[in-house]
Symmetry: C2
């Protein structure tokens, strides 16, 4: 038998990671902090963003890249709040993908006013599986987990909960009407991602939203410091 020496390129990036790095370089050049915001459909990402904007981001100039399979309903909601928002549909030229990837985000960069932003929130497609597998050039990842979804979600979708730097537990105004144990959710969260930061909120009533707002402001100021 012959022994064949094969040179392995250690740490070679796949195409997505290569493009994510290019996105990241562009964001860094303009001093923009980027949050990849993920959740299941209907968990309240857009309502949370609306509430955070209403709570006031101070000096932070924020923009949104809105990912959806189809339509621009969420982008229109955010545009009403005078936030620069760009719609990115995975149904147009991207095969109706169930997630954003780095290349899709890259295609939207020319329509984003990066030089005028401190913070860009990329609202991903509503999905608890695939979005966690694709870096898009973000600094941090946050997810919204609604209490109406049950306490078992970290155990059923561990990759998503492990991938995030912040878990926002939304719709806590509904707790009195649900058979839901918040301690159990946190216990499951700790099991799959020990020590992960979590904030319980009601984007609808505003409860807890200021803590999320403060988190976004901290993310933005860290990026500013790095430039």
């Amino acid at each position: 038998m012959h022994r064949i020496k094969v040179k392995v390129a250690e740490g070679a990036l796949d195409a997505n990671d290569t493009i994510a790095r290019a996105n990241r370089d562009d964001f860094d050049r303009d001093g923009v902090a980027v949050v990849n915001l993920m959740s299941a459909p209907g968990a309240g990402k857009t309502t949370l963003l609306e509430a955070v904007v209403r709570a006031g981001l101070g000096d932070v100039r924020a923009g949104v890249l809105e990912g959806d399979v189809q339509g621009s309903l969420d982008a229109e909601r955010l545009a009403h709040l005078h936030v620069p928002v760009t719609q990115l549909n995975t149904g147009n030229g991207f095969g109706g993908e169930c997630h954003l990837d780095a290349n899709m985000v890259r295609s939207a960069l020319p329509s984003l006013p990066l030089a005028d932003l401190d913070l860009l929130v990329i609202e991903n497609v509503g999905n608890l599986v695939c979005p966690a597998e694709f870096r898009v050039g973000e600094d941090v990842r946050a997810m919204v987990c609604s209490v109406t979804e049950g306490e078992d979600k970290p155990l059923k979708y561990p990759l998503m909960f492990r991938a995030c730097d912040l878990v926002v537990i939304n719709k806590i105004d509904l707790l009195p009407h649900l058979d839901y144990d918040l301690d159990k959710l946190v216990y499951h969260l700790e099991a799959v991602h020990p020590g992960v930061e979590h904030i319980a909120v009601s984007a609808r009533t505003g409860e807890g939203v200021e803590a999320v707002r403060d988190w976004f402001v901290r993310v933005a100021s860290r990026a500013g410091a790095a430039v």
Copy 2:
């Protein structure tokens, strides 16, 4: 320029459809009606199935194929009700896929007691995008849409709502506590899938569950008639 005659196999099936057809043949041979049950994460598929089983399926011998990325929490819940249940994890050998496909379902068939079933419910992975793109050999498709997800979901995930023969609108016990307009959801549903059957339920309180049970029984009896 030469003209080259290319023979095109019209209606050629892709690999998934070919395997779905093989699954379907196996189901037909044993006279099993098959429902592909889909929803977003946490919409209440398993709770609905528990409620339907508790409501009583009469002579219908039902089994469940439980699809999850990881874990067997839902399968264990259903096994408590003495329903034959087989767990299928997309995380084991299927790359953590966000949906079931025909080949995954085929891999589980040997562990299902098909000869002893009239009805098989395939509980898909919680996801409003990709499951709608993969036939698995089912007779009909049903989806669960929770009122906590907002009224806009048919517009944002039209393929899923179009693919279904039944839309179960779940968690209506929470309506008094939500800013949710059920008529608006039905209006959006009609816009993307005119005339689709829908049933409003609370799997938690049992309201409306008998209508869903009757739908399952009708599906099972149609398959029996075809054998």
